[in-house]
């Protein structure tokens, strides 16, 4: 439930999949924002960046509706964030990173 205080997640446990459209401003911004949020731990996090047109079948299976879509595949439960990820607070909460993120 949303009311539960979230324990921070170790970024190394994250498996993210980001669907983008190559060359689109939204998508570029999303990637940028995500990188900024993860900061130094960017290399430790498993992030797949997929072009939605090139990987349409996978997108279909993942029930992607809009772009950019960021899916937290692990740890469970699966979470989805849509948009260019400009709202850091929402993104942080969605990914369950809490205050554990070192910037």
């Amino acid at each position: 439930m949303n009311g539960q205080p979230q324990s921070s997640i170790d970024p190394r446990d994250l498996h993210l999949r980001l669907y983008v459209v190559a060359g689109q401003a939204n998508s570029a911004a999303a990637l940028d924002n995500l990188q900024r949020l993860l900061g130094e731990q960017w290399s430790e996090v498993e992030v797949e960046v997929l072009d939605v047109f090139e990987h349409a079948e996978t997108a279909l299976q993942d029930r992607v509706l809009v772009t950019p879509t960021l899916i937290r595949l692990r740890p469970a439960p699966v979470r989805r964030v849509i948009g260019c990820l400009a709202d850091t607070t929402a993104l942080t909460q969605a990914l369950g990173l809490g205050t554990g993120v070192r910037r």
């Binding site: 349409a56 997108a59 849509i82 260019c84």
Partner: protein
Amino acid sequence: MPKNDPGTLRRRPTGILGLDDVMGGGLPEPGIVLVFGGPGTGKSVLCVQALTAAAARGEAGLLVTFEESPQQLRRNFAAFEWDPLPPDGELFQIHDARLPSSVIQSGVFDVAGLLATLGARLDSSQARLVVFDGVDMLLSHLDDPHAEWRELLRIQEWLQQRGLTALLTSKMYGDVPADERHADLPFLADCVVLLRHEVLSGSAHRSLQVLKYRGTHHHASPTPMTISRRGVAVLGPSLVLSDRPMTQERVSSGLADLDEMLSGGYYRGSSILVSGAPGTAKSSLGVCFAAAAVARGESTVLVSFDEPVEQIVRNVASIGIDLATPLADGRLHAHAYRTLAYNANDHVARIHELVELHKPSALVVDPVSALARSSSRRIADEATLRLLDLARRNDVTLLLTTLLERTGDTLREATATSISTLADTWIHLSYAVQAGERNRGLTIVKSRGMGHSNQVRELFLSADGLHLQEVFTAGGEVVMGTLRWEREEEQRDEERRRRSEMELERIRTEMSIQQARTQIESLQHQLTLREEELVRIEENRIETVRQEEARRRSIRGLRNVRHQS
């Protein structure tokens, strides 16, 4: 816009009754159609019905749902009498495009993801028809009119690139889009359709209006529409005014006497209005016509709003018409509907479906005036006009009975509707109450294009059918029944009297002549007597004179003798 030549635009028929007529042939192929309407106006039904019709033709389609789940949609449409939506496969797919509530929005998004995944689906199917049901649902999350507009353009471009025919549905309240953000939607589309659902005169009425259709001649006014278990039906007027040449072929009315009055019968494909007060045998006349049609081996449809079919069969059996046999062997299709259950347009839609199904050559609706029981007069009249048009377009000879009370001589005023002007033949049945008796009369008020008698005939119902009797005219008044018999007798008496008077006169005159002759004879006789008398008198006189003369001579003689002595 080099699109004004209808020849370059291809139209995909929707398969929805009446819709293609108001849409200039169907959906643009390729092209985008926006379907606007408030909740419950039938946007989804219309689109899904088009998909179902396409699937039935073997044409693949794709339904993208933004509001309802695929399972819910299948459940919704299972209630209709169409073939069920095909399971997900090559012919038909439902794409779930609902944004889950658990999704967190962080910043602006675009619909490229949707288009990519749809592309993946289309690559595995041959779908040319796509429905976006509730696209406003997704776009409203953007909360930015510019962004929404941009995304719509993205969708439009994608659709155009793939050459698809697309139906996009979006909510509207009244005549205004649900929010002003969507006010620009019409500019994106090749065709914009607005669905309305209003309550007029106490009953619900649906309408469909083609607000715009680029490069296509379409019908631009709101048109009545119905939704039944058979789906959407649009009751538009035909765009092609019936320029069909009226055939010269005559079909029997079912009464030999009436056929004679009409110089052979009704024209095939024409419309006949039979009006009259209750109990004047309008239904019987209608059934007569139906019976004659089935006797010719023609498929016939009978629609009754007053009586159940079994009742009609019983009623006409008493006048020697057998409906049970043609009903049983399928030449006659009879349906009785309760008028109050549906509005006038719903009823006409059902009749339209019957015509499509049975392809009859004759249709009887008894009485069409019943349509006004569940709708306003105006709506009922319009529905009746559509019925006339439907019959004309399908070459169906249509007989409508209508309740009409005649008060005095106000026949024309009472039928102030245009139906009586449009119907080719108008027969009025009346009651004449004279000398304590009610007799039925039949008048041909008008009959377009053929000779007809202006007289009233007396209509008889007997065990061997309906018959017409020559009327009796006496002193300028039309008379029927017992009174007619009496008058006929009177007239006979009158003639007899005159004859005997004349005889009497003759005799008298002859006697006069005789008398005169006799008088002449007697006068003649007297004349003869007088003449004889005159002769005698003359003879007497002469005699007397001679005798005198003789005496005088004799006296002179004597004197002479004395002298001489």
